[in-house]
């Protein structure tokens, strides 16, 4: 199933930030989101993930199919690495965490408490969580923060494997991941001072 985003208008804090965003993402493909800081990449990703509402427009193909990874890792410091992964696996209805541990070389850390990990290791664990969700569409916001070159390569391999298996990925990143992916620049869709998109502030202007 494709992800279709049509004519999306987004606002942040009552102010329009993106207008008329449209794109499609087919299974097996990845789309890299580019744009300056503050342009609205996070807002766009969160809206697609279902955490926020758009002002107007349509998103189809996203319902119940998304695994989201934002800036925070969603880890519990007082649970071990495998306990954290097992929890998410159970919530999403999957069974095995073995492949996820292997993909990010987390086996040696499996019984360590997540609170004792370094930033890079925590991020690897957060990304490993994507593998236990069993969801086809990955929506990722700056996934490579804190990762060293080796870990970035692990991540890129995991994405390639996911795409090969019929999944899709929407990734906001500044880094060249070496993926065979289209780049979608959101700069042309940025709202201007005079944009009227139905954002909250406009009622008062």
């Amino acid at each position: 199933m494709e992800l279709h985003v049509t004519d999306l208008n987004l606002a942040r804090a009552g102010v329009p930030v993106l207008t008329g965003v449209s794109f499609a993402l087919q299974p097996g493909k990845a789309l890299i989101l580019r744009g300056p800081n503050g342009a609205g990449k996070t807002t766009l990703l969160r809206t697609i993930a279902g955490l926020q509402d758009a002002l107007s427009g349509h998103i189809t193909g996203a319902e119940d199919r998304i695994a989201y990874a934002g800036h925070a890792d969603g880890l519990k410091a007082m649970l071990s690495v495998s306990e954290n992964l097992t929890f998410w696996a159970q919530v999403f209805g999957q069974r095995s965490i073995v492949d996820a541990l292997a993909a990010y070389a987390l086996e040696p850390l499996a019984e360590r408490f997540a609170g004792t990990l370094s930033a890079g290791q925590k991020r690897r664990l957060g990304l490993a969580r994507l593998l236990v969700t069993g969801r086809p569409l990955w929506v990722l916001d700056e996934p490579t923060v804190s990762l060293d070159a080796q870990a970035v390569a692990m991540f890129a391999d995991a994405v390639r494997a996911h795409l090969a298996g019929g999944g899709a990925a929407l990734i906001a990143t500044h880094i060249d991941l070496g993926l065979d992916a289209e780049v979608f620049d959101i700069s042309p869709f940025r709202a201007t001072t005079n944009t009227r998109a139905g954002a909250s502030d406009e009622a008062f202007l």
């Binding site: 804090a13 201007t192 001072t193 008062f204």
Partner: protein, 244 residues
């Protein structure tokens, strides 16, 4: 032109500017006539002497305290369903007015009861319910102040108003149940509410209630206008920050 056209903040400000002078004038007139007539133009009560005249403050204030919350409830529903900012800001504006009315009701209730109870406060079911209502008002106002994003604040406070209304009604019955343990003689004769009160007391009371009602409306118009202007200033500032 339906009433919904005033959901536009700018149109509301225009309407507010037009009606406020009349409202304030009428409110001032009714309140002063009601109070003066009530305090000076009515005879003393056989049992309670002149302290009963505090009802000309107490009953209208108590009535408005409840009506204000009810207005906030309706305004909150309108915000949740139709997303009209004026409605949300009107609820925000009405809350402190309602809170003050509740305080007046509590204070005058205590003053009324003191000669009879010999104490400045008794846990009478009516007064206790108003005390709880006051706490609900405080929580509502505090939540508006605590949330940064104005739309989220409007959303959260609206749901709080809804849930709070259910619990306020529940508390009313709970407090009645709870106060059964008190000996009967302490209930404040607030239950009169006008029905068993003789005509000579009743008419000034009606005028006073009308006055308080008009006062409430005038205050809400005024304060809502202020909230709209504040929001407008913030929106202009945000737009200026973005464009440059």
């Amino acid at each position: 032109m339906s009433i919904w056209s005033y959901a536009n903040p700018v149109k509301f400000l225009a309407l507010s500017a037009r009606v406020q002078p009349a409202l304030w004038g009428a409110a001032a007139l009714c309140v002063s006539v009601g109070l003066i007539w009530g305090f000076f133009g009515t005879p003393d009560d056989a049992r309670q002497g002149s302290t009963v005249k505090i009802i000309y403050l107490h009953v209208p204030a108590a009535l408005m305290a409840i009506n204000a919350w009810f207005m906030m409830l309706v305004a909150s529903l309108i915000w949740l369903i139709r997303r009209h900012h004026v409605s949300a800001l009107a609820a925000k504006a009405a809350a402190p007015v309602g809170a003050i009315m509740t305080l007046i009701a509590l204070f005058t209730g205590a003053v009324w009861g003191q000669p009879m109870w010999g104490t400045w406060w008794a846990w009478d079911p009516r007064l206790t319910s108003f005390l709880i209502l006051f706490l609900f008002y405080l929580g509502y106002i505090a939540l508006w102040e605590a949330v940064e994003d104005p739309d989220t604040a409007a959303d959260l406070t609206s749901v709080l108003c809804l849930v709070g209304s259910v619990f306020a009604v529940l508390s009313r019955y709970a407090v009645n149940f709870w106060s059964q343990g008190l000996h009967q003689g302490t209930s404040v004769p607030v239950a009169t509410g006008g029905r068993t009160v003789a005509d000579v007391f009743f008419y000034p009371l009606v005028v006073s209630m009308l006055g308080f009602g008009l006062l409430f409306i005038a205050l809400v118009f005024y304060r809502t206008g202020t909230e709209i202007s504040l929001r407008r200033a913030a929106a202009l500032r945000a737009r200026a920050d973005r464009g440059l």
